[in-house]
Symmetry: C2
Subunit: 416 residues, 2 copies
Amino acid sequence: MPEDNMETHTCTAPVNIAVVKYWGKRDEDLILPINSSLSVTLHQDQLKTTTTVATSKSFEEDRLWLNGKEEDISHPRLQSCLREIRRLARKRRNDDDPGLDSRGLSHKVHICSVNNFPTAAGLASSAAGFACLVYTLAQAFGVEGELSLVARQGSGSACRSMHGGFVQWLMGHQNDGKDSFAQQVEPETHWPELRILVLVASAERKHVGSTSGMQTSVQTSQLLKYRAESVVPGRMVEMIKSVRRKDFPAFAELAMKDSNQFHATCLDTYPPIFYLNSVSHQVINLVHRYNSHYGQTRVAYTFDAGPNAVIFTLEQHIPEFVQAVRHFFPPETNGSEFIKGLPVSHVNLPEELKQAIGLEPMPRGISYMISTKPGPGPCVVKDSTQHLLGPDGLPKSTVKHLLLGRDIGVKHKNCY
Amino acid sequence: MPEDNMETHTCTAPVNIAVVKYWGKRDEDLILPINSSLSVTLHQDQLKTTTTVATSKSFEEDRLWLNGKEEDISHPRLQSCLREIRRLARKRRNDDDPGLDSRGLSHKVHICSVNNFPTAAGLASSAAGFACLVYTLAQAFGVEGELSLVARQGSGSACRSMHGGFVQWLMGHQNDGKDSFAQQVEPETHWPELRILVLVASAERKHVGSTSGMQTSVQTSQLLKYRAESVVPGRMVEMIKSVRRKDFPAFAELAMKDSNQFHATCLDTYPPIFYLNSVSHQVINLVHRYNSHYGQTRVAYTFDAGPNAVIFTLEQHIPEFVQAVRHFFPPETNGSEFIKGLPVSHVNLPEELKQAIGLEPMPRGISYMISTKPGPGPCVVKDSTQHLLGPDGLPKSTVKHLLLGRDIGVKHKNCY
């Protein structure tokens, strides 16, 4: 039974959404990608993972609880992160500062992690999860430095969740992966008008997981190889430029093109992989017709390995576009719960806009929307009442309650 | 009013389906493609266009009736074909054989054309239509030689309908297009076991026509450019080899990969073009799971610019695969009209196959199927009772009846 030798740390980490997509590894073990990628970190007020790590010499083994359920900690990628953090902690003690206390290096860890959004929403929960794990373990073991290198070994895209704002993951070229890490391009405060809407398509399970999907793509798609080598390098340059200049049309068009090209390489995979469904197609058509009506690129979509759309737009266009989504995807109920997260004011949809879009409404195609914006990277939670593990080193009973009332839209004042 | 100076010719021409796809022109006027393509000509017993051309010095203008309705003959591509045939006729009379009679070179033409299949079925009716037009005009004006060069100027893929069996359209490299023509790779008798099923997806209009679609793709898709230059040349070689060897798995896999890559380039187009819908996705999954169950590539799909699937398989697998389609796309009625064309015997679907495929059935996703096989190129119809134009040079009243009782599956003994 743990006693006062137990140390407890709690942190949160964000979800990120790529606008230049990562698809395909050149090294499966180290998780080294075939191209660089660029993402926007979403705000943790709406979407985050919270992780508590407790260390104690009285723990008999490493243990893990995910969303309230104990899970097998032997998963190779979890083990990579644990091993790597312990190695860095040892290294730091030996090399840099022999005076540092041992910080429980030999201690076992208990890890408890929860998302404030349903995993089934297909929102790259593994990125936030591994980022949070690595960040919290680093706190627990007193490790500093380029943690995105460690997070990358848990889940490739997790390295981008180690920073806030606009983040690039440099593919690197070394075999040991030391030059494959994430870097902030601009902080979350850089583009205050930028808004993000997550459109959660009606429940439909992902058919092909991204790990096996990208393996098959690398093995079979000639177009993916060409994209990685000859298209993405130029797009990274253009995308960074558009972010720095806050050039929304350039940012938006490149994001849409890159999402489409990623899904094109999935279709060029053999057997082909489909992540977009009829709801996704309708969202794509809605966005293009909306922009075309205004003769201006006001809204962009991007899709990861699933049918949910992530929409980028500027603050001023949010009320109307949300209303357009509500019109062309009529919600089941009266729609009061249709939009979560940042408040959105109500406007009426101009009749000529409806006419110009002219799509057949798809009732219940979208379950709900989350309204959010770019946000910061991982944070330390100082308030000890927020720890997910109790003084006995086991998940608090409140963890289950947390999961029942997923707190999207409720601000945690202790972070950021 | 036409009299006995009227000459009437009637011909039929087939539909073809590409297994190495044509998408993108390097010259819009001459219709020169950015890559070579290869197709299988479908049998005219099931799918054909019939065209009658009458010439008479008493006709006052060129006129055209399509499927019973008079149409504007001034369409540039129709005019290209007419002009080209008349030019070749003049050339032949001047150069080769000054003794040839004038064959009504100055006469106006009446053209009447009908398909024995609904245009809405999305079955590349323009290919059969232009092939038949050019072939019949050539009869009427006594033109011989490489007619696929002329048909190409009506509709690119029409050049491949000028031959039976397995046909390649060589892209050519000259600016005048003289080296961009179709060539038979193997005749229709070469692979007697090969069978073709057209799966007509429930009515849904094509959103983007192929002419404008391929223009946008050429302008915006980097993947299309790469495909045309670096992928297709190797695939043409492989495809011809697989046809010559009658190597079904090689033929089938390449056909599926090429169809998927074509649709991938549509998705990489900006704005993206979707021709595949949820029915198409289900057919693709069905085929892969069917093959995977048997550990053998027994069935292949290919999709043109629309949601209808064209299935290739060998005769021995037809009954079971048709039953699988019927099971996973339960037809509206009792299903007696579900399969048209070549007779298909009934078998029961093995329970373990249904289990292995494990898809959720999509009721009425497919309206009907047409069972056919490779067939011959254009034919002259000798029986003068089959002319679509009467002695007055106007469509016979029977043309309308023909259209009502589209005669799929009824053999015309006078052709082939």
